[in-house]
């Protein structure tokens, strides 16, 4: 064991960064990454021909371009949603959080992604049915039809777009972590790392434009195979190599229970103490409730072929959660291994911990496979997110407010164009602003998107809520969540937006801010509805019927292909 550690320390001196963060380029790993990236790009460009009617080439409607023809079966959906939900950033950030702060910051992702699927099982087949019947492409389409309110629909759409943008930017942060450990970019020449990033995004934008949702669906298969190989090999080899799990957890405990001089409290804990219990479960539950309100998740659901597809997937998708849990534990393995994640500016950057661990522990070619899996893992969700955001813009802003008679072909053209703008925006975000503001906005995005939960989910079961009460609840939740998150100050850097947990009002119990904001939102929507009903305010517009929520693929559609949805009758 000691001999191994020494051998490893010797290897570190060769592949690792020097004290200023300067790394030699690891050519073997870099070539593997580039080859796999080119392979994926070719697949992406061929995707537009996959399962398309030759007469329909060019993908001239949102159903074709933005939802892949609404025909994905169980297998394709499993890969697509796996690639969509378990993003590169997750794979980088969760072990990073474990490495830096322990269970409450990192491992909650496991109960989060377990509790997620029962929620999906309950809600998503109803959303699928009503959307299939009415030709809805976005969650805001459904809200607009259900409540006959384009303003509520606009609120859902804008929340979705704003919450998705920083999420796309974070995928770039994932790619950048990979490029940094490969030795591209240095303190003196940061442009070296930005140029490959820009090339990667231009290629991504091009095949998303031509292939629509089919491109990430096909690429997700490659990405998932690579990521499974990387994680299985890492988990089979690394713990034994570093002396077994008991030693790894002991090393993690020693590092995390050391006292942070900035706060006079430990950095974290391997097992959360009593004060962390409520933060832990509210983070897990709130994140699970929020995830399928994100437009990119709903895009994955609506692209499926039948009502049962998403339920069958809810049953098998947890396999990814197991992978995520094992990957999270690699954060502790890195503690034991003494991984030294130094960024190009010489500072410690926890995000680099897993890429660096792979590079330190495996032959270059295999590290290349693992790093490529992370980089490609960033492309899949980035593509789906940009498609989802541009569908929201096209349907619920452009069509509803500016061009009510837009034809399906016109919609598809607008959406393709907007998907390019969205990606350029995300790229500018990462290159122009610093990485931590992307993380802050993503954290806020989670709180914001959770505020669309009452309108969407209540609407799946009942038309009891008043549309204006829901709108006021949404606004209150967003306002409260934003202010509270701003007030969280990072104890070390004294920056605002320092975390996503804060005391529940009137108590000392710290919980996830999104949950508190959601409760406020739901209470206001309920009270508002009761008051408006007491004053007999009329609010009955509804384009859906009870029968829509149980429809499957063989039932007739209310809206036929090419016809316009009568969204706002009232």
């Amino acid at each position: 064991m000691t001999a191994h550690a020494l051998a490893l320390a010797g290897a570190l001196a060769v592949t690792g960064p020097d004290a200023t963060g300067h790394r030699p380029v690891n050519w073997v790993a870099l070539i593997v990454v580039v080859v796999l990236f080119v392979l994926v790009a070719v697949i992406g460009f061929l995707a537009s021909r996959w399962r398309t009617d030759p007469a329909q080439r060019g993908l001239h409607s949102l159903d074709e371009w933005g939802l892949g023809g609404r025909g994905f079966g169980t297998w394709v959906t499993w890969f697509l949603l796996g690639g969509d939900l378990y993003t590169a950033y997750t794979f980088v950030a969760v072990p990073a959080a474990m490495w830096a702060a322990g269970a409450v910051s990192g491992f909650f992702a496991v109960p989060y992604t377990i509790v997620l699927y029962p929620i999906v099982f309950l809600l998503m087949s109803r959303l699928w049915s009503v959307s299939h019947r009415h030709g809805y492409v976005t969650p805001a389409d459904f809200v607009g039809g259900r409540y006959a309110s384009r303003w509520l629909s606009l609120a859902v759409a804008v929340t979705g777009i704003v919450a998705t943008m920083p999420y796309i930017a974070l995928q770039l942060v994932g790619i950048r972590a990979v490029l940094t450990v490969l030795g591209l970019g240095s303190g003196s020449n940061p442009l070296m790392a930005d140029i490959p990033l820009i090339i990667a995004f231009v290629v991504l934008a091009a095949y998303t434009y031509t292939g629509g949702l089919r491109a990430p669906a096909l690429i997700a298969i490659v990405k998932d195979v690579l990521i499974y190989i990387a994680i299985i090999v890492a988990i089979a080899y690394l713990p034994a190599h570093f002396g077994g799990w008991a030693g790894i957890f002991k090393a993690a405990d020693t590092k995390l229970s050391a006292v942070n001089p900035a706060t006079n409290a430990p950095f974290g804990a391997v097992i959360p103490g009593v004060t962390g219990f409520n933060a832990y479960w509210t983070l897990a539950l709130g994140s699970a409730m929020a995830l399928f309100m994100y437009p990119h998740s709903i895009t994955g659901v609506l692209a499926t072929k039948s009502r049962d597809t998403i339920r069958r997937n809810a049953m098998v998708l947890p396999l990814y959660s197991l992978m995520l849990g094992l990957l999270a534990l690699l954060g502790y393995v890195a503690i034991k291994a003494g991984t030294h994640p130094i960024d190009t500016n010489g500072a410690i950057n926890a995000q680099l911990v897993v890429p660096q661990l792979f590079l330190d522990s495996f032959p270059s070619w295999f590290s290349g496979v693992a790093l490529a899996a992370i980089a490609i893992g960033a492309l899949v969700p980035a593509a789906i997110m940009s498609i989802a955001a541009s569908n929201l813009f096209t349907r619920n802003v452009y069509r509803d407010f500016f061009k009510k008679d837009a034809s399906p072909k016109h919609e598809a053209n607008v959406s393709k164009l907007v998907s390019l703008i969205v990606k350029v925006g995300a790229l500018a975000f990462v290159l122009g602003l610093d990485q931590s503001s992307a993380i802050n906005f993503q954290l806020l995005g989670g709180i914001w998107i959770l505020q669309t939960f009452p309108a969407i989910v209540a609407g799946l079961y009942t038309r009891w809520f008043n549309k204006w009460a829901l709108l006021v609840g949404w606004a209150a939740g967003i306002l409260y969540g934003t202010i509270t998150a701003y007030d969280v100050v990072n104890p070390t850097t004294h920056a605002h937006f320092g975390g996503s947990i804060a005391a529940f009002p009137g108590t000392n119990t710290t919980v996830y801010i999104g949950i508190t904001a959601f409760l406020l939102n739901a209470v206001i929507a309920t009270l508002g509805t009761l008051i408006l009903r007491a004053f007999k305010v009329k609010d009955t517009g509804d384009a859906t019927t009870e029968a829509d929520f149980g429809a499957d693929e063989t039932d007739p559609k209310v809206v036929q292909e090419g016809a316009q949805a009568p969204l706002f009758e009232a």
Partner: protein, 91 residues
């Protein structure tokens, strides 16, 4: 084309949805009861209870959803068959 307000499914029976609902509820609640599992012992292969308990729930939740899926699909098919227009006027 048939009218959009024609029912797509017949009336529901309570039992299958109740059992499926209980399965789903267990899969949501149990992984969130932190006090139940926030401890180190019993460890498994050196992994503290806190960690392997939660990873174990990946499989349990998956199994519970499988039960719920089978029950709900069967009931869904029955309800769908109940409203299919049948020739010969049996219904």
């Amino acid at each position: 084309m048939s009218a959009p307000d024609m029912p797509t499914r017949g009336p529901a029976r309570v039992a299958p949805y109740l059992i499926a609902g209980v399965c789903v509820a267990i899969a949501i609640v149990m992984p969130l009861l932190v006090p139940l599992y926030a401890k180190a012992e019993p460890a498994l292969w050196g992994i503290p209870f806190f960690y392997w308990y939660q990873l174990l729930w990946v499989f349990i939740a998956s199994g519970l959803l499988a039960i719920a899926f089978v029950l709900v699909r069967k009931e869904d098919r029955r309800r769908r068959a109940a409203v299919k227009p049948q020739k010969g006027g049996a219904r």
